[in-house]
């Protein structure tokens, strides 16, 4: 981003109410496809781009989260308003493009009026004109332009009509800017009272009446003829009422989807389908990815030869990269389902449905989307919590998000369950996995309730709770939007997690292979394979990792585990998914023509604790590990984002300590409890 500071190119900022077609316009102007979603306030990250070359304008374009007014109510709105006046990196915008949904003209003009009062250089883009036309009305751009005393242009999000006119207007506006002295916008007065707000609306009402024009009668609508005749008797009011019609189909669908009984059934069905498709749809793709990397690792070893370098490439790098790539299918599936729900308009209903129960435990209906995203990854989930206006509810949401079973935990559970239920018992593994997910939901809700009820010490903040959300009309999700959403999430996952995991894989490979890479072993009376095995275990026993493990041994012993699991658990603190790759490295798993998972399960079956000879992985210790991963906050990135989003170290440190200590204690109870019950 630092290169942008020197770049004195003109900055144009797009601003508008949620659902006003802002992001669609951004895509058209930038030519770069970014997320467009149907859930109010979904743009958490800013999209930034150059205007398309074909427009011949040298300017940068910044998208911003939707805002209703210049008085922010939630953290995401606060950021959006601040960045309008002066973006920390990009500076003061030279021009604002304000998107206004013409079917929502009176509501969306509030923001335009407030921006004008701050002396912004702006132009207005009217969107969704087709929706208004269906109601039999149209906005006169000429009248609106003279009433607002600024340029107004209509564009169509689908056909792109009006875009050329908009571009030439932008060019004209920017040229004026060069000749005139640039205005610095005046910050909006926050202490605005009710009366002045109502005054805005009075003015807007007058503009609204002036610019709305009834369309000439079309052959389809006979009703309007009747209306017109009626208007001879009752002039005026009918016209305005008709343009305020809401989508009746949406109301009818909502009657079912918000219903006391059917609404809840539909909610649970939609959630169940979402989660089960994460397992069933992703599994074959994951197996494929896992196979490809196992094959590559073998090929690399064969090509380079069985020396330290071949080992480094094959085990250190290829297996490490493979353990990252293996979750990509899942993340893509979860985010495409989220995208479908978002773009169809259901997410807002989901939030409304569970507002009441969630508010009982100190959360908010707006915690719904962050919690749902938490099943993919806690990091975007914590950022999505910015849409919650009440600080206490927002902090509590952030607090419990690490307890939801994020996708990084899935490969760990998959491995542990594959060990517990091999071969023909795999269907039990599926059921247990579903149970783990349900448990993680219950767990997070119970923890939220406990924190909310018994202590105000953990989260001190207190202010008025509120739930105000626009329910957008249902629409068929656009495949392109869902696809873009999916690709963007997968890319950002790879960018964030990829490098960390790769570096750690290499570090663990080094720590488990050195200082004694080529130990002396008894060569006689052994086959070639046995010699390799002997060397492997001897090398590991003398390694740095083994030295480190001796410190951890006393902590791991009560759990019935040894230093090898301990080292993997410690490595997993940088990111949970590292657990699998580090176990693979410690047990020196290579492909040998089967999947990484199968050969790991075999290696785990053979592992025993050195001094006692007891088996390392038993049903009891595996169950213990699952419990550990359910609770422990093992993700440094999550801790960092929690710090950033809550504004201090208090909450991330409390999360780290509370979740990890309870993970250890509960694992101890699980392992020893199961053993006391006779389950080894």
């Amino acid at each position: 981003m630092s290169s942008l500071v020197q770049d004195k190119t003109t900055l144009i900022t797009l601003v508008g109410s949620p659902n006003s077609g802002k992001t669609t316009l951004f895509n058209q102007l930038s030519g770069r496809n970014f997320k467009t979603v149907n859930y109010p306030g979904a743009t958490v990250e800013y999209s930034f781009s150059k205007l398309q070359d074909k427009f011949n304008l040298n300017a940068n374009l910044l998208d911003s989260p939707g805002i209703i007014s210049l008085t922010p109510h939630s953290p995401d709105e606060k950021i959006a308003v601040k960045s309008l006046f002066s973006h920390p990196v990009l500076g003061i915008p030279d021009l604002l493009i304000v998107t206004v949904d013409s079917s929502q003209l009176s509501r969306h003009l509030l923001l335009v009026k407030q921006l004008q009062e701050c002396k912004f250089n702006l132009l207005v883009v009217l969107t969704m004109n087709d929706i208004l036309e269906k109601k039999g009305f149209s906005v006169s751009t000429k009248n609106l332009s003279s009433k607002l005393n600024c340029e107004v242009v209509k564009t169509d999000g689908r056909t792109g009509s009006g875009l050329a006119e908009l571009v030439s207007l932008i060019g004209k506006k920017l040229k004026e800017n060069n000749t005139l002295a640039k205005n610095t916008p005046v910050p909006y007065r926050i202490n605005e009272n009710k009366e002045s707000l109502l005054n805005y609306y009075k003015n807007i009402e007058i503009i609204n009446d002036n610019v709305l024009e009834e369309l000439p009668e079309k052959n389809t609508v006979n009703l309007k003829k009747a209306n017109r005749q009626l208007r001879i008797l009752h002039p005026d009011p009918i016209a305005k009422k008709n343009c305020y019609q809401i989508d009746q189909r949406t109301v009818k669908i909502d009657k079912i989807l918000l219903h006391k009984f059917w609404g809840l059934i539909a909610f649970f069905l939609i959630m169940a389908i979402t989660f089960s498709s994460i397992f069933w749809l992703a599994q074959p793709v994951m197996d494929f990815v896992s196979n490809v990397f196992a094959f590559l690792a073998d090929e690399a070893l064969a090509l380079i030869g069985n020396n330290w370098f071949g080992d480094f490439i094959s085990t250190g790098i290829i297996t490490g990269v493979g353990s990252v790539m293996v979750f990509v299918p899942q993340i893509m599936i979860l985010f495409s389902i989220l995208g479908l729900l978002e773009d169809s308009g259901y997410l807002a209903r989901g939030a409304m449905l569970i507002d009441k129960p969630l508010s009982k435990i100190g959360l908010n209906g707006k915690s719904f989307v962050p919690m749902l995203s938490g099943f993919a990854c806690a990091i975007p989930a914590m950022m999505a919590a910015r849409t919650i206006p009440n600080k206490r509810e927002r902090l509590l949401t952030i607090f419990i998000l690490p307890l939801l079973s994020c996708s990084a935990r899935l490969p760990i559970y998959a491995l542990l369950l594959a060990f517990l239920f091999p071969g023909n018992k795999a269907w039990i593994a599926g059921l247990v996995l579903a149970a783990i997910y349900i448990f993680s939901i219950i767990n997070s809700v119970v923890v939220a309730a406990i924190i909310n009820k018994f202590t105000k010490r953990i989260i001190k903040e207190e202010d008025d709770s509120s739930f105000i959300l626009e329910l957008p009309a249902y629409r068929t999700p656009k495949i392109k939007v869902v696809y873009n959403n999916m690709v963007t999430s997968a890319k950002s996952y790879l960018r964030k997690a990829g490098p960390v995991i790769l570096v750690l894989s290499i570090a663990i490979w080094f720590l488990t292979s050195f200082p004694d890479y080529n130990p002396k072993v008894e060569m006689q009376n052994h086959t070639q394979d046995e010699i390799v095995q002997l060397k492997n275990s001897e090398r590991l026993a003398n390694s740095y990792a083994s030295d480190m493990g001796k410190f951890i041994q006393p902590v791991m012993k009560p759990l019935g585990m040894d230093w090898r699991v301990g080292v993997s658990l410690i490595a997993a603190f940088t990111a949970r998914e590292v657990f699998v790759s580090s176990l693979a490295l410690i047990f020196k798993v290579t492909g040998d023509g089967e999947t990484i998972q199968n050969s790991m399960v075999r290696a785990m079956n053979n592992a025993s604790i050195d001094d006692t000879g007891q088996k390392l992985f038993t049903p009891a210790t595996i169950a213990g590990l699952i419990v550990f991963f359910l609770f422990a906050l093992q993700c440094l990135s999550t801790v960092a984002v929690s710090r950033q989003e809550t504004g201090s170290w208090r909450i991330p440190i409390l999360q780290l300590v509370i979740f990890t200590v309870s993970a250890y204690l509960l694992t101890f109870i699980t392992v020893n409890g199961l053993r006391a019950l006779g389950i080894a």
């Binding site: 605005e192 707000l197 918000l258 105000i468």
Partner: protein, 73 residues
């Protein structure tokens, strides 16, 4: 005086005033609930709260206690 929280399904009423003392009143006005506007209760959530009102050609969900600050005639 009647408030929006007491409306029946399909009952169309006009907003008379917004109680400025309510902490959410500003946002409620900003989102389009202003005196003189016609509103209608179009839906309720499964637990009877929040409520969905049609106002100015869109549907807005707000909690019951927030709807209480919208005085209607």
């Amino acid at each position: 005086m009647k408030t929006a929280a007491q409306l029946q399904y399909g009952e169309k009423v006009k907003i008379d005033d917004i109680d400025g003392a309510h902490p959410s009143s500003r946002r409620i006005i900003e989102i389009g609930f202003t005196p003189g506007q016609e509103i209608e209760l179009v839906n309720k959530s499964a637990f009877n709260d929040p409520l969905a009102f049609s106002v100015r050609g869109t549907v807005i969900a707000i909690r019951k206690n927030e709807a209480d600050c919208i005085k209607v005639i």
